[in-house]
């Protein structure tokens, strides 16, 4: 595969910058979150947004769908939602003089699915998303239906009010490229929101990128060069999440899967493109690692009791695993850290 050229990268970077600027008009004070969401989209990944109500999760997804000019459907997940409600159902219809089961596509058949409060649906319904998210297709009554491309699932969940919810199974979580935590706004941001917005009105957003441009950029991400040393760093980082492989992993019960390594590589490439570089770097991996790994490691019971969080463990991991593979001799002192 031909590597991305400087010109292509610069051109794509310009588009992405525009997209980012437009999204910053939708949601204020969340520049890093916007960067990560765009990184996830460029890496063709699904994103799980976690945050308290009213922080702008849904608004961000709606803004994204409008700027990308893609078809978007919103599914409000509830405990009584059935798999067929999202994948679609075969309906008995009369066709050419005979009655046949005609498949009626569900809300999954779109480009961007906003799965609001995904953890409120039953595991059965959550599992209906597995095939769609991984293979971009849906199988109903033995009949497989391809989903439109590009296909992204942007799910939200509330970290509080857990009564009556069904935590996402590990297999489901692993299919999300990123799990992003939306933090509260500072006073300056709140002041800007109060001054610029009104309750019940949506910000005016214009499409920035058409489907073709997005397709080109998505294919360009795959052509971003990933140096061997960066690949080696990703491998060592993922390996270090497993118990016994690093001192930070003492708090981890189960480490990350190879899908995590692939996700890191893809998102590092996307991040490099956003920074208008033709190659990914250690710094790109380090930037996306918390979002990629935080939902892919399971902490030990003791660590959770002690109040240790996944973010803290991942920070320790990133400090512990050096960029270069070789050790430094005792006669030398490492002056720069990762």
């Amino acid at each position: 595969m031909e590597h991305a050229s400087e010109t292509e990268v610069t051109d794509a970077g310009r588009h992405i910058r525009s997209l980012s600027s437009a999204l910053q008009q939708v949601i204020f004070g969340q520049e890093e979150l916007i960067q990560l969401v765009l990184t996830g989209i460029l890496a063709r990944g699904h994103i799980l947004l976690e945050g308290l109500p009213g922080l702008g999760k849904t608004e961000l997804v709606k803004g994204l769908s409008r700027t990308l000019d893609l078809d978007t459907r919103r599914i409000q997940f509830t405990p009584d939602l059935l798999p067929g409600d999202i994948t679609g159902n075969p309906v008995l219809q009369e066709k050419d003089g005979s009655r046949q089961f005609i498949f009626q596509p569900g809300p999954l058949f779109t480009n961007i699915v906003l799965a609001d409060e995904i953890n409120r649906a039953s595991p059965k319904t959550q599992s209906a998303l597995l095939e769609a998210m991984q293979e971009r297709r849906v199988t109903v009554l033995g009949e497989t239906h391809q989903l439109p491309l590009p296909f992204f699932v942007l799910a939200t969940q509330n970290p509080i009010e857990l009564e009556g919810t069904y935590p996402l199974p590990e297999a489901q979580l692993d299919r999300f490229l990123f799990k992003l935590e939306i933090t509260r706004n500072d006073v300056g941001t709140l002041e800007r929101i109060v001054n610029d917005r009104e309750l019940g009105t949506e910000p005016e957003v214009h499409p920035i990128m058409d489907e073709t441009t997005l397709g080109n950029i998505l294919s360009l991400v795959r052509r971003i060069f990933l140096p061997e040393v960066v690949g080696n760093y990703i491998a060592r980082l993922v390996d270090a999440t497993h118990p016994g492989q690093s001192s930070a992993a003492r708090s981890i019960k189960f480490g990350s899967s190879p899908r995590a390594a692939l996700s890191l590589a893809a998102s590092a490439r996307a991040r490099a493109l956003m920074n208008e570089r033709t190659h990914a770097s250690f710094e790109d991996v380090k930037f996306v690692a918390p979002s990629v790994l935080r939902h892919r490691i399971i902490l030990e019971y003791n660590a959770r009791v002690e109040g240790l969080t996944s973010n803290e463990v991942i920070s320790s991991l990133l400090e512990e695993v050096p960029f270069q593979s070789g050790n430094t001799p005792g006669t030398l002192q490492q002056t720069s850290s990762n």
Binding site: V229, V230, G326, S336
Partner: protein, 443 residues
């Protein structure tokens, strides 16, 4: 050369330099422990060798040391080579340290152009001097200590002949002394020397064997008794001659005869003993007619007497048997029999905790009525827990507390005491400080 090629060359040169630094650091890291252990062991070995040998083989030691160091260096290289970094790896280290977003790796792969060399380049490592130099200093310290510490070579006692018994030395000294003074005829001295030499000719291990010491003791006693006998005979002869000369006219016939007999006996003993006096002296004594001493020149007589006295003194001064000869034996026997002169200084066997070693006097004689137990000493056990009723625990030289104040006659019914209270109390019963305090209060 284009800018790109120049930059590439600069970065690769830097990578080679960093790679060399890292590899050298690994080599030094692996060398430290063997160097310390080897120098410590080597230093001990040098110290032991210096102690054991008089001539230290410095050259050979230096060569062996160099070879050892070479061996260690090779071993350290062998151990460290698994960690050695190539220039490409060093390039990654540089770009990681300088946060260059892997621009050098991408440029090496031809993906992106080589970046320009910045003014300040950092490979992210710094020498840890304390860790680097500590083993080196320790090694130098060990070696310097082992080389410069003053150590004297140990005397090899096993290699040298042992000291011969003191008695042989004393006998040899007597032989030389008597030979020099020509006090004794040489036959006796030769025979004595031959006997001493025969003892010396034994195996050195046998010098202090029981039989050898027994023989030595017998020889010393024999020599001592000979010396003693000759000395006594010489003095006896001299005394007889002097008495004969002084009382020539006044002395009775019988007394004169007794002295003549004494002289004859002494002369005979001198002539017949193993140890004979100087031949000339013996001849002169034999030629002398003690009955006609008046005919001899007084000066010649005095000279003869002087010679005899000198010879006797020479015998007395000899060490071989003089001190523990017959005289000493007699003294010891007298002491044991309780008949000898009593010395106040030697309190052998007398009672008391400090009585010292030795046998009590009078051990072999008649039982003495006086036990002569010496001064009585009280021993303080300090342990009163085992004392019984009636045991004397303590003696104290003290007086009873008796009120010795004299009291005169008192008339009955007369009250002498003053009333208590009022001004009397504060004037007579209080201390001066209390009085002043009260005065101040009432002011």
């Amino acid at each position: 050369m284009s800018n790109q090629e120049t930059s590439a060359a600069q970065w690769q040169r830097l990578a080679r330099r960093v790679s060399t630094k890292i590899n050298l650091a690994w080599w030094l890291d692996k060398l430290a422990a063997p160097l310390l252990i080897t120098t410590l062991a080597g230093s001990c070995l040098i110290l032991i060798t210096r102690r054991e040998t008089t001539e230290f083989p410095w050259l050979q030691t230096a060569i062996v040391g160099m070879l050892l160091f070479l061996g260690m260096a090779l071993m350290a290289w062998w151990l460290a080579r698994g960690n050695f970094e190539s220039p490409d790896h060093a390039l990654v280290r540089i770009e990681a340290s300088m946060k260059m977003h892997n621009a050098l790796s991408a440029a090496r792969q031809g993906i992106s152009p080589w970046p320009g060399m910045p003014g300040n380049v950092d490979d992210g490592t710094r020498w840890r001097w304390t860790r680097l130099l500590s083993p080196l200093f320790a090694a130098v310290l060990f070696l310097s200590t082992s080389i410069f510490l003053p150590v004297s070579a140990r005397n090899d006692a096993a290699g040298l002949p042992p000291d011969e018994p003191q008695a042989w030395k004393d006998l040899q000294a007597d032989i030389e002394s008597l030979g020099e003074d020509q006090t004794v005829q040489e036959d006796y001295l030769n025979e004595l020397e031959e006997r001493v030499n025969r003892l010396r000719e034994q195996n050195e291990q046998e010098w202090y064997s029981h039989s050898s010491l027994e023989a030595t003791d017998a020889l010393r006693k024999m020599h001592g008794s000979e010396l003693d006998r000759m000395e006594q005979n010489l003095r006896k002869a001299e005394r007889a001659l002097k008495n004969l000369q002084q009382g020539e006219d006044k002395m009775s016939e019988s007394a004169s005869q007794r002295l003549l007999n004494e002289f004859e006996e002494a002369l005979q003993a001198l002539a017949q003993g193993k140890m004979k006096p100087n031949e000339e002296l013996l001849k002169e004594l034999k030629k002398l007619d003690p009955a006609n001493l008046g005919q001899i020149d007084p000066e010649q007589f005095n000279q003869l007497c002087e010679n005899m006295r000198k010879h006797a003194e020479s015998c007395q001064q000899c060490q071989g048997g003089g001190q523990q000869g017959a005289g000493a034996v007699t003294d010891t026997l007298d002491s044991l029999l309780g008949e000898g002169p009593e010395s106040n200084e030697s309190q052998q066997g007398k009672g008391g905790v400090n009585r010292g070693p030795g046998s009590a006097p009078g051990l072999l004689g008649d039982a003495s009525s006086d036990v002569d137990s010496g001064d009585l000493e009280g021993l303080d056990s300090g342990d009163l827990s085992k004392s019984l009723p009636g045991d004397l625990l303590k003696l104290q030289d003290d007086e009873h507390e008796v009120d010795k104040s004299k009291t005169g006659l008192r008339a009955g019914g007369k009250v002498e005491g003053k009333a208590r209270g009022g001004s009397r109390v504060w004037k007579e019963s209080l201390l001066p400080s209390e009085k002043s305090a009260l005065k101040d209060f009432f002011k």
